[in-house]
Symmetry: C2
Subunit: 318 residues, 2 copies
């Protein structure tokens, strides 16, 4: 199994609504590291990621979301290296395309144009994210950012975030998604998924909305995020990820929460993949590795291989 | 595959918290039928039920629940033949044990004692049900009915109703269940299940409550109810059964809603059975046949055979 490698091919797959895309998602290191330590971290990541059977590398743009909720953040927020910087410079050795998240709220129009052009020239992709809460200082709004992307980099595939938990409350996430598609959004990546039914509800509502409006269903990458400790579980809650209570009961009582969550993530993907194949939904998968702990990183690598098998990539890519 | 037949054996299985019990559930015919027509209906049911691979026959006690909600009832309410009467007289030819529902609200203590004694003498079982709403005229309360059963028929196994949808709202159904167990309830039968996660949540919470309180987890029979039309779907909603929206989307758009719901019911049982086996929950199954339409009745028979295979009864009973 080898990496697809050619960035242009992934952009093409996204444009043609191909099913089965597989990505691996990382956060850039903290800015507080020394230059040497940063180089070491990047080298270790390059080595690890190079061996993964993936189409692209997702690089998150981590914002301080503590204004979103009054609940204290389980892990402290530390400023990270700029995602575009990190993806294009420190990880330059990785030839596979990067899918770089960009939180547009704090940016000026010029800053956004500049980073989108750099991504476009490197045959990368981007995901635009709006403000985390109404309270975040806002320079650029998401619809304006989409307009900027459309006008300045019409060939750069722009993705959006899809949140099933929001859909359970508002039942409007499908409409929000098609509004983003009207603005130029070509694919979606979900928040970490532990609630299969909520995700099926959103996929189903979006599918039938697309059918009714005679549009193609866009590729949706479901994000899997292994959970290695009760503290990480609390962090998932803090981020707004919901777990069915039976699963929460099981994880809190499991002797090895990491292995248990790994099995759950694999089951989640198997269930959603089966669901998507039966309905012609172009489903892909994004395995998140946002932890610094060695065992959690190893679990994300294992899960990536499991996901590749689930998506039938063993045979397809050989 | 033959029927277990011996009533005493089923009572013993319930007492020893055996997994894998399988029942078939019917409603008695309407009281408005002529005597001859009633005899015909009973004969047809006897013939059909005799061939099913089940441990017992559930006979519901249908009440006019229209006071429970302001939504109009999709099917008119018609008074049915008394459940105990019907089970013990018209279906006397069926030697398998009957599990007779008894809505206690309209009964006097004497009426309840009388019908419980008849069931006890016929080696049957009972399920006691409280008032459908706070507005129903109330002669006997459920805790008093349990006390009556305990004192008058201590050997008669009494079951209770378990409603996952109520647990989603109150998170207290597990506590309600253990309170019923304290009052003498030895097994549970659920409302029709279309929401797997809600049911897993309730089973999980009840299991861990039983563990914490050092009790045995009681047998729980999950009820499967094939749905043959949009009108039946509306009726399920009216009864308080909730379906995940993706499933509702699928059923409403399916060309053959009955076959689609049959597959869903089989999947629901497979999923819950797997869940229960992994956790040591003594799960059983109750296939409901509450419709009068021929195709829906045939579907319930097919589903009963599927459930028997799922519960591994082919080999166990041969």
């Amino acid at each position: 199994m080898t990496q697809v490698g050619k960035p242009a091919r992934v952009r093409e797959h996204v444009r043609t609504n191909r099913a089965g895309l597989l990505t691996y998602g990382i956060t850039p290191p903290k800015q507080s590291h020394s230059r040497e330590r940063l180089a070491e971290i990047a080298a270790a990541q390059v080595n690890r990621i190079r061996q993964l059977p993936i189409d692209g590398l997702v690089v998150y743009d981590i914002q301080d979301e503590s204004m979103r909720t009054e609940v204290p953040r389980p892990f402290p927020y530390l400023q990270c290296v700029d995602a575009t910087e990190y993806a294009l410079n420190q990880l330059a050795q990785l030839t596979l395309p990067k899918i770089v998240y960009r939180c547009v709220a704090p940016l000026s129009k010029e800053e956004l144009v500049q980073s989108l052009r750099r991504l476009d020239q490197s045959s990368c992709l981007s995901v635009l994210v709006g403000a985390a809460s109404r309270h975040q200082a806002l320079s650029l709004r998401l619809p304006d950012a989409y307009a900027v992307a459309r006008n300045e980099c019409p060939d750069l595939p722009i993705g959006g975030v899809l949140i099933a938990e929001r859909h359970e409350q508002t039942r409007a996430e499908d409409q929000r998604a098609t509004a983003k598609m009207d603005a130029g959004c070509g694919y979606f990546i979900t928040q970490a998924v532990y609630s299969v039914d909520a995700t099926k509800n959103l996929l189903s509502d979006l599918l039938y909305r697309c059918e009714a409006e005679r549009r193609s269903m866009p590729p949706v990458l479901v994000t899997l995020s292994p959970c290695g400790s009760l503290r990480t579980l609390d962090f998932l809650h803090w981020l707004g990820v919901s777990l069915p209570r039976w699963l929460e009961n099981d994880l809190r009582r499991s002797r090895d929460i990491l292995q248990a969550s790994l099995r759950v993530c694999a089951d989640v993907l198997a269930d959603l993949h089966h669901f998507a194949v039966n309905r012609g939904i172009p489903l892909g998968c994004n395995v998140e590795s946002v932890s610094l702990s060695k065992v959690e990183i190893e679990a994300s690598v294992e899960l990536t291989h499991l996901a590749a098998r689930q998506l039938g990539r063993d045979s397809a890519e050989k």
